[in-house]
Every structure is written in C-alpha cells, then in structure tokens.
Symmetry: C2
Subunit: 465 residues, 2 copies
C-alpha cells in the first residue's frame, strides 16, 4: 500500500490496464498507409470512448487527415490546466519478417510487451488515461484540469494537428503541455527531457548542362553538378565535425557548467555506445566536446542523399545535367531555423563552381526547444520521478526533434514537460518494438504524483514560463 | 565519270545500296534486350550472306553472346591485309515516342536516312561491303587482302569479341585495322581520328556505422559516408578543372605544337558549341587549354552517381551506414589505366575521414589510343579523304573511348585507322538517329580509294607501326 489511494487503485488494476492496452495495440493504425484509414478511425473512436468511460468529455474531430481525439475535464476550479499530447498512429511494420511475434498481436515476454506502437506512442499515451482513471475512481475527482489532444498523424507530419491548434487557441488554453513520447536514459534512470535540437532540412539543386552528356565526349568542358555538390558538401563541414558556414555557431548557447557536469556523471559509456548502437570504428565529431554533448548540445550537419546521374549496377559514363543533395542541420539553443537557413543558403550560393547554377530549398525547419529548468513544473516533475523510480533524475536532452513541442510553443505560447517511459532499445520504427511493463506501471504512478503536486500549485502559479 | 572504275560502279548502284541498307536497318538488332535475340541472329546471317554474295568467304560464329560475323578475301598476294571492324547491334530506342518516324522503319528525309543504327554502325559498316562489291565487280578483284570482323555486342561490352580475338590471333593476323564507327568534324570536313582518350571507371565504397541511423539521435557522433564522399570528391579535382591527385599529370604528353596549331584553325566555335551542344552557362575546365584541347588531349575526372541514403521525394533524416560514388577519369597519352587507378586508389584511401572505411574498386580501364600519324597508312587515308571530300583533313581526336581499338592493339599488336562518316548531330543512342546519305556514298568512294592506294604499298611495307 502506498500513501496515495489513486496509486493503490492503479496497482490493483494493472492486469486490466495491460489487457486494454493490448486491445488498442491490436488496431493496426498505420497512418502512412491509405489501406489503414478505417483502422485510424477505429483507434480514434476507441480512445474517445475510453475517455468518456472515465467521465472525461471527449470527441473525435475529423478533417482532411486522420481524426484527432479531444477530451477535457475542467472541474478543478483554481487549479492549473495541463494539455496532454499523445499520438495513436504507428509506423509501418516492414520488414515484417524480422518480427519475432506479429506486430499487431501484442505479446508479453521478459517483462516487456511487444507490438508496433507499444512504446511509440500507444503505451505511453495510455499512462495518462490510467492515471486519470485511478484518480477519478479513488478520489472522485482530478486534482487539476486536463485537456487531452491525441493525434493520428505524428508519423506523417502532424498536418491536421497544426491546423487544429492554430484555429483553437481558446479551447486549448492551458498552463503547460505534458508529453510522454520520449525515453528514459536507461532502465531505472528517470529522465526529464529538457532540450531538443531543432532541424533545418534543405535540398540543394545544381544545374549544369541542358541535358545529360557523355563523359567521354564532353568531360573536361561540361560542368558536372555531382562534382559541384561534392565541393559544396566538403566546404560546409570539416572532417573533424565542425560546420564551416560563417556565423553558424554565433548564437549557440552551451548549457551551464552545472548541467554539463551532471551529464558527465551519467551512466554513459562511449565505447559501449559506439560498439552497440553505432557500430562504427570510432565516434566522430567535434573532439573538444564529449559524445553526449555533441548529440544533446551541439549543432551538426549531415548529408542524407544525393539524387542524379547513374546509380545502378555497373558503369555508365554520364555527366548528369542536374543533381540535388539533401542536407540537414541539427540546431541547438539559441540558434533559429530561419537564420540558420539564411546562413546556409548564402554560403551554398557563394560556393557555386563555374558553370553550375544552384538553388537552395528549405524542406522544413524546426527551432530547438529548451525547457525552462527553473520552473516549478520541472521541480515537481523531478520530485515525482524520484519518488517513483528512486535514484537521481537525469535532466537530459535529445538530439532529435519533436516538432509538435515547437508548435505548442509557437502557436499557444506553451512550454512542455517531457517525461517519457520508453527505453533507448525499444526498437521504435523497427521490428520488435517493445515497452517495458515496469515503465508502463511506474509511468502511471509518476503521472498521478505529478498531477497531485501540480494541483497544489494553484493558479495563478499558473503557466509554465 | 571518275577515273576509277569501281567508283563509277558505286555511283551507278547508290539506289540499290540504299535499299539494301534499309533492309538491314529494319532488323531490330538491339543487343541489350533479350527479346531481340532472334533479330541478332537474323542480322548476323544477313551480313554473312551479303559477304558471301560478293565472293567473300563468310561465316557466323556463335558463342556465349550474340554471333560474330567473320569473312575474308585473301587473294592479293604480296599486298597488305586490313582487318575491318564494325558492329551490327544497335542501342535501344527509348524514348520511342520522341522518334518522328519509327526507329525500325528507315525513312529518307532531307538527304538523311533516319533509323536506329543508321549511323551507329550499320550504315558505316555497309560502306565496307559496298566498297568491296564495287572493286570486285568493276575490277574482278580486290587490291589488298581483307578480313571482316563484325560483332553484335558493341553496345553491351564486346565480351564475345574479346574472347574470340584472344583465341584467334593467327586467323586475325593483319597489318592494320580499319574502323568506320566515328564522325567527321562537320559536314564536308573529312576527319581522321588520331587519338582516343582512355577511361578508368571506379567505384568508391564508404562504410560508416553498422546500419542506417537517425540523424537527430546520432548526428554529431556517427560518421556519415555521404559527407565523406563529398570530401573525397572535392579533394580529387579543383573547381577550375584540375585533377589534384598527386602525380596524375606526370605522364601526360601533349600533342606537338603543329597539331595543336591545326586544331586552332578548325571550324570550331566554342560559343556555338556551348549553346547548342552543352547548354550550360559556360564551358568549364582547365582555363590554360582551349575547349578542344580539354576534350581531345587533356585528362579529366567526373562523378557519375552517388548511391546511398534517401533519394526519394521530400525529407528523411537518415545517416546511411554505407554509400558509394561512381567516379571515372578520362586519360590521355601517355597515361596508363593501371597506373592512374593506382594513384587514384592511393589518394582516395589517404582522404578517408575519421570513422569511415573506404574501398576502391576498378570497374573497367582502357588505355588511351594514339594513332602513329607518320605512318604511310595515315598519309594514304588523308590523301584519299581529301580527294573524296575536298578541303583539308582534320587530324582530330575523340574524348571518348572505343575500347575495341585498345583490344586490337593489346591482343594483336595492331593499330587502327579511324575514318568515320557520321556527323556530330547524328543522334547516336538518342531518338531520330540519322546518317547523311552524302556521307554514306562518299564513305564508299573514300574506302575504295584508300584500299587501292594501300594495295600499292605492297608487303613488307606492311604492318602499321
């Protein structure tokens, strides 16, 4: 027995929570595949019905894309309001032959539940519903106001969600956003994500001759867009990992020494990480920073693909008329996507070799995110994580982007609390995705504790700044 | 009436020659498409039968690939022997919708015959047969010995031919090879190709991580093979067209000043060439050489394609585990393919950035060819070209390779006379391939004159050195 009735309730209902999660995981809600459109609607209706069962007013909202699920419980007068975000869509299952058990037949093995979406993000999303159920059943009410916004297009660009947020600022008014779509640093190491890198994804188009040419008959006089792109790529980043675009690092603000120090104490072994996760002969990148600093707090630049010419088997002596390179930059506080794109764009144009015309296109840009760690919400999150998992809480970051965090900030002015229950080896987007049952259950407990403490804040402690 | 009976005969039979050429052009002998295998056999039999009709002993030789046609007339005791090379296979016709008349329905328009293979190489090959017919009919014999070796795999690597040449050195013994598979510098400008660039075609494989990685979660520490290839490409050639591989130019022997001078007098307008053939904003390459020198007498390096990562529409944030670049060098006398590959290979390995393992593969290499211009055969060729076309003869070169020329040199020790009757705008390998009828008929005349003069050389003036 804990000292919290809602947590006792949750513990008594683990078996049912697991069975219900399995039911959701059986719905193959793959948002990118048109044949799963009915499954998307089924998953959305299932979630709306579950919310309604709990006594949370809920609806599915259809639009151009897959439905949104919206729910609200707003009876905690004077208490803060949290906007919960999650997603019920999942990645495709290819290569399906590598799954040990079928992706939509959830199976428990070794304390994990295996299924597509187990960790990303159905399992994590359901912790919110079970925390709410436990509080409502054990205490008759929630200690704070909740708004649920669950989408079905996270794996395909969140187009519908962004549109809905932009048009429903009043309805979505809240003090803070809470998201469980990330992972803990390691099993038993509770983690609060306090920063996300942004991204600036570009395509550089190079045009030389009016059409493809034979390299024997024209080699030596015809401009070659592929050679041009090689030249440009080499001039954007040195082989030691430094981006060489003038002004690129100008606005980079490194974390305080205290935070950097705490990262050095984390149970992170670079050699194990190299061997088990990356599998390269060495870890590369700016030698003056540690690997974690390079991923969490340093910007970088990567080429993702080069289009053009001949890429089949064997030899073809073509000088392509055109070629293009997909190049992205990961950016960190306080870099801004629009400014970095401008610097990139200008530098690339400056690098144009003779005879080659360049165009630089921005495919998408997301600003980096920094959670204000001195906020009361962060302090409460740390406290409840520690109560639930023991040990000290990692104020970590992620090298990746969660674009919706930037959308909430930009359109609603809201910061996000990123407490996630996944693990680095959960096989997101890969075969044999799993979710650790202990994390599922502890995630519910931690959420209950978090909400109870936040409820005590009262308004106008209010909005997280 | 000319002063040569065989030429008079040829002129009287132009109409029939054209009808016969059309019959050969109607056979869709596309060597790379398996469904045309019966057409390949039909074309080979047609040629063997035509040779036999003339009184030339001929056979088709079947093996692993498409048949060879071999024929010989060896009754000119004491006279030199020419080994004639040609090919009866043609390129595919895609995109077929761009043809004004169907590719295998030969059509005469504006003094040209339009059909796939008209210029490359059926029309040019047939000039040899009609020159032989004219001499045999008008004079009862040939002035020299001829061996015909016509292949059906020129457009797909000449595998069968090389094997046959390697195994039949005695049968193929000759003094010189003659090939009509090239083009005149311009209409009315007779041209002897006196040099061909060689080629060294490579693939550079770069391996970083053990598998593809997400650029958010690993960008900054994972080696990126595409960035690595960009760096390597940039370090192999500067943007002004100079190859920067140490030692690369060491063996380059530029043509004599007299030859370079003659090139400067050619009716070549760089601006027209840029606008009409290349279509780029400028011609690029080593500024200290003229465009013709860059193509004919200078080595160069081009990237043909880069494999790996994501090249579809839109954005995918992948750091590929592996990537590869197809890179070739055109080489000139006295560079050698094996030595240049060695220099390239060593340089690329030296350029490996941290964390990236490189492998360099040679896909194929052909040495450059230089025709000994002081040979009596060249002098006769020039003389007969001038008699036939008027004007002065261009001792030009080609930036491309004709690999079989190197094969004849390597396996049989034979030099080649490269008198061709095509034109630069004949649309080889493209829709609306054509062959100018005047060149077809003049090619026959020039060949008759050439053979008569060569016949007078007698052996042991013999082998062209």
């Amino acid at each position: 027995m804990s000292s919290v009735a809602a947590i006792d309730y949750a513990h008594e209902h683990h078996a049912r929570f697991l069975e219900e999660l399995k039911a959701l995981l059986r719905i193959p809600s793959v948002s990118t595949l048109p044949e799963h459109k009915p499954d998307m609607e089924r998953a959305a209706s299932w979630l709306a019905a579950r919310l309604a069962d709990l006594g949370i007013e809920a609806e599915t909202i259809s639009g151009n894309g897959h439905p949104l699920v919206y729910g609200e419980w707003l009876h905690a007068t004077g208490a803060p309001t949290i906007l919960i975000y999650g997603h019920y869509d999942v990645q495709p299952t290819d290569p399906v032959e590598l799954w040990e058990t079928p992706p939509f037949q959830p199976t428990v093995r070794n304390g994990n539940i295996y299924a597509r979406g187990a960790s990303d993000d159905k399992g994590q999303t359901m912790t919110f519903l079970y925390a709410a159920e436990s509080l409502l059943q054990a205490e008759g009410k929630l200690p704070l106001n909740l708004k649920f916004l669950l989408e079905g297009e996270e794996e395909c660009g969140s187009g519908h969600l962004k549109e809905y947020i932009a048009g429903n600022g009043e309805r979505l008014r809240a003090d803070v956003v809470q998201i469980a779509d990330s992972h803990m640093f390691a099993p038993g190491v509770p983690t609060l994500e306090t920063g996300l890198r942004g991204v600036v994804y570009t395509e550089v188009h190079a045009v030389g001759a009016a059409h493809d040419l034979h390299s024997g008959l024209y080699g030596g006089v015809a401009p070659n867009p592929l050679n041009a792109l090689g030249h440009i790529i080499a001039e954007l980043k040195d082989i030691y990992g430094h981006v060489t675009i003038p002004g690129f690092y100008q606005d980079v603000r490194m974390p305080d020494e205290g935070i950097l120090h705490s990262w050095r104490d984390l149970p992170f072994d670079a050699e194990t990480f190299r061997a088990q996760e990356v599998g390269s002969s060495e870890l590369v990148g700016e030698p003056e920073f540690t690997p974690l600093e390079r991923i969490w707090a340093r910007p970088t630049l990567d080429v993702h693909g080069i289009v053009g010419g001949f890429t089949g088997h064997g030899a073809k002596t073509v000088i392509p008329g055109q070629a293009a390179a997909k190049i992205s930059m990961r950016i960190v506080p306080n870099q801004r996507a629009d400014q970095i794109f401008e610097l990139f764009h200008n530098r690339v144009l400056d690098l144009a070799p003779p005879g080659v015309r360049l165009e630089v296109q921005l495919l998408h840009g997301d600003d980096p995110v920094l959670v204000p760690v001195d906020s009361a919400y962060v302090q409460i999150a740390c406290q409840t994580l520690q109560q639930t998992f023991g040990g000290s809480v990692v104020l970590g970051r992620s090298g990746g982007s969660i674009p919706v965090v930037g959308v909430f900030k930009e359109l609603l002015g809201l910061n996000s609390i990123l407490m996630g229950w996944g693990l680095p080896d959960d096989n997101l987007h890969a075969p044999n995705e799993k979710f650790m049952l202990d994390n599922f259950y502890n995630g519910i407990d931690a959420t209950i504790r978090f909400w109870k403490e936040v409820g005590r804040l009262g308004r106008p402690a209010g909005r997280m700044e």
